[in-house]
């Protein structure tokens, strides 16, 4: 955040960011150690379960399966969403005529399609990837259409009057101009994609992190269930950081511009 971040001295600033996670961690550690509850187990046993379950050789399959489906579905959604979004954004009458259909399809709750996915594609990666793609497609597609339509009228005049050919128009004008909105859509899509991965593994699957969590719950292996959730939190956090890194780089002009004082 550009505004309103007064400069604290560095160690103090670090302390400020870290105290709450440390306190929460410690509180759980202490409270959990004496906990009688069946469900809120001690943090020590969760970490122990995390180590045996997720830091061992057998874990790689589950994690890889989840991540591969996530990557495939998300990549597909991004490619289709941007390509289709640019086309529909530029061919404005077509995009507008298709508006109601897109609005309807977007409103289909992704989870409601799972039974249908099972029916058509059966159990397996194809079904999961299709579902992830469907869920993650809409924010990217709709934001791209909006971003492309929002290209400034003066910018459009400039590119026409200087006879910028279509391919440069796309790569140097339309995409960068719609960039911030496309990225915002991609960020929403990422969290949807993670949700759909886990969800699709809970129903109709025998592998993946979601499956492991549900399986642990069914076997009343409560520390293992918590360990799975912890893993998802860590992976999600890392993915977000990676995403922010990419965003930071792609939109460096935008960041600098919004931070610059208005002339």
């Amino acid at each position: 955040m550009a505004r309103g971040t007064p400069a604290f001295p560095r160690p103090l600033s670090l302390l400020l960011e870290a105290w709450l996670p440390i306190v929460l961690f410690a509180a759980w550690w202490v409270a959990g150690a004496n906990s009688e509850s069946l469900y809120f187990v001690s943090l020590r046993s969760i970490l122990e379960a995390f180590r045996t379950q997720w830091l061992s050789a057998g874990a790689a399959d589950h994690i890889l399966s989840s991540m591969a489906n996530l990557a495939a579905g998300y990549a597909l959604a991004t490619a289709v969403g941007i390509a289709l979004g640019v086309a529909l954004g530029l061919a404005r009458p077509v995009g507008e005529a298709l508006g109601p259909i897109l609005e309807f399809l977007r409103s289909v709750p992704g989870v409601a399609l799972l039974p249908l996915g099972l029916l058509i594609l059966g159990v397996g990666s194809d079904m999961k990837i299709a579902l992830i793609t469907y869920g993650a497609l809409w924010p990217i597609l709709l934001n791209t259409i909006d971003g492309v339509r929002g290209v400034d009228a003066v910018v459009r005049d400039v590119s026409r009057s200087y006879r910028v050919p279509l391919r440069f128009r796309l790569t140097r004008i339309v995409l960068p101009s719609a960039g911030p909105q496309i990225i915002a859509g991609m960020r929403t899509s990422l969290s949807i994609a993670i949700t759909v991965v886990v969800f699709s593994e809970m129903i109709g699957s025998t592998e993946g992190i979601g499956y492991s969590i549900l399986q642990a719950q069914r076997n009343f292996a409560i520390p293992e269930m918590w360990a799975g959730m912890l893993l998802l939190g860590i992976l999600g956090y890392l993915l977000n950081i990676a995403f922010r890194g990419v965003e930071h780089w792609v939109l460096r002009w935008h960041r600098a511009m919004t931070a610059a004082p208005r002339s």
Binding site: G4, E17, L98, S107, V108, A112
Partner: protein, 270 residues
């Protein structure tokens, strides 16, 4: 937390001339689908014709249990959203106004919000079984974050000039919150409400489907087990319509309430 908040544009473009094209496109798409079904390009056992879906939908609409399930989904969704708002908006105002609070909570919030709420389904099921409570816990866990973040961004982006104006006229803290902070942040809050509402509907149906709690989601699961494909499609269509209605509702409210905001003013013609 990211440096940019999402401001989805709520301003829908309505063009009377475009209406004909829209209706025609929908009709053409349905006709094409019907044709593909009739010629058996689409297998009617997996993707039934629009007419058989319509028949199933009409039958559903005549069933009392369907409306009961519909009502339960709607109640779960709206209660969950209300609860989320009651938590997220005050928390967002606090985090947005105080840099110390913001920086203290940043990591915790970032970590918690990345855990997909469906991962909590097993836990919620253990704790509450297939009940409305279970649904509510899940909905709140999932939909509290977008609203919290948007509110926070909304407060942080308020022009410092208006805060300083308020302070120079010696408005007290309560009045500053009421007249400057809340209205200033409201476009972002409104966007947050819309994102959260969509998320909440998704989670309501998801919780019903995995957790077998009564509602539309459970109905979808049952239709699948019974291999009643047209009914399955009809239920999916109903939940999509519910989604369309929810979004339209919030867009309308937003446009009324925020008519003063730039995004809703008629754009100068060019």
């Amino acid at each position: 937390m990211s440096t940019q908040a999402i401001t989805l544009r709520a301003a829908g473009r309505t063009m009377p001339t475009g209406l004909v094209a829209k209706v025609a496109t929908v009709a053409a798409a349905l006709a094409l689908w019907q044709l593909l079904s009739a010629t058996r390009v689409l297998d009617p056992d997996t993707i039934p014709a629009p007419t058989s879906i319509a028949v199933a939908a009409a039958r559903l609409a005549g069933e009392v249990p369907f409306w009961h399930a519909f009502g339960l989904t709607l109640t779960g969704w709206s209660l969950g959203l209300l609860l989320s708002a009651a938590i997220a908006i005050p928390a967002g105002l606090l985090l947005g106004s105080s840099d110390i609070c913001y920086r203290s909570c940043r990591f915790t919030i970032d970590f918690l919000r990345t855990i997909p709420p469906v991962a909590m389904v097993p836990l919620a099921l253990l704790l509450y079984g297939a009940t409305t409570q279970m649904k509510l816990v899940l909905i709140v866990l999932g939909s509290v974050w977008p609203l919290l973040l948007q509110t926070m961004y909304g407060v942080r982006q308020i022009d410092p000039m208006s805060r300083e104006t308020a302070r120079s006229y010696r408005l007290d803290r309560l009045r500053r919150t009421l007249f400057i902070v809340l209205p200033g942040a409201s476009p972002f809050v409104a966007t947050g409400v819309r994102i959260s509402a969509t998320m909440a509907l998704l989670l309501t149906i998801g919780a019903e489907l995995i957790g077998s709690a009564e509602g539309l989601g459970n109905g979808i699961g049952l239709a699948q087990s019974a291999s009643d494909v047209p009914r399955l499609f009809a239920l999916i269509a109903f939940s999509a319509l519910l989604g369309v209605a929810v979004n339209a509702f919030f867009v309308t409210v937003e446009r009324r309430a925020l008519a003063w905001h730039v995004a809703h003013r008629p754009s100068p013609g060019r």
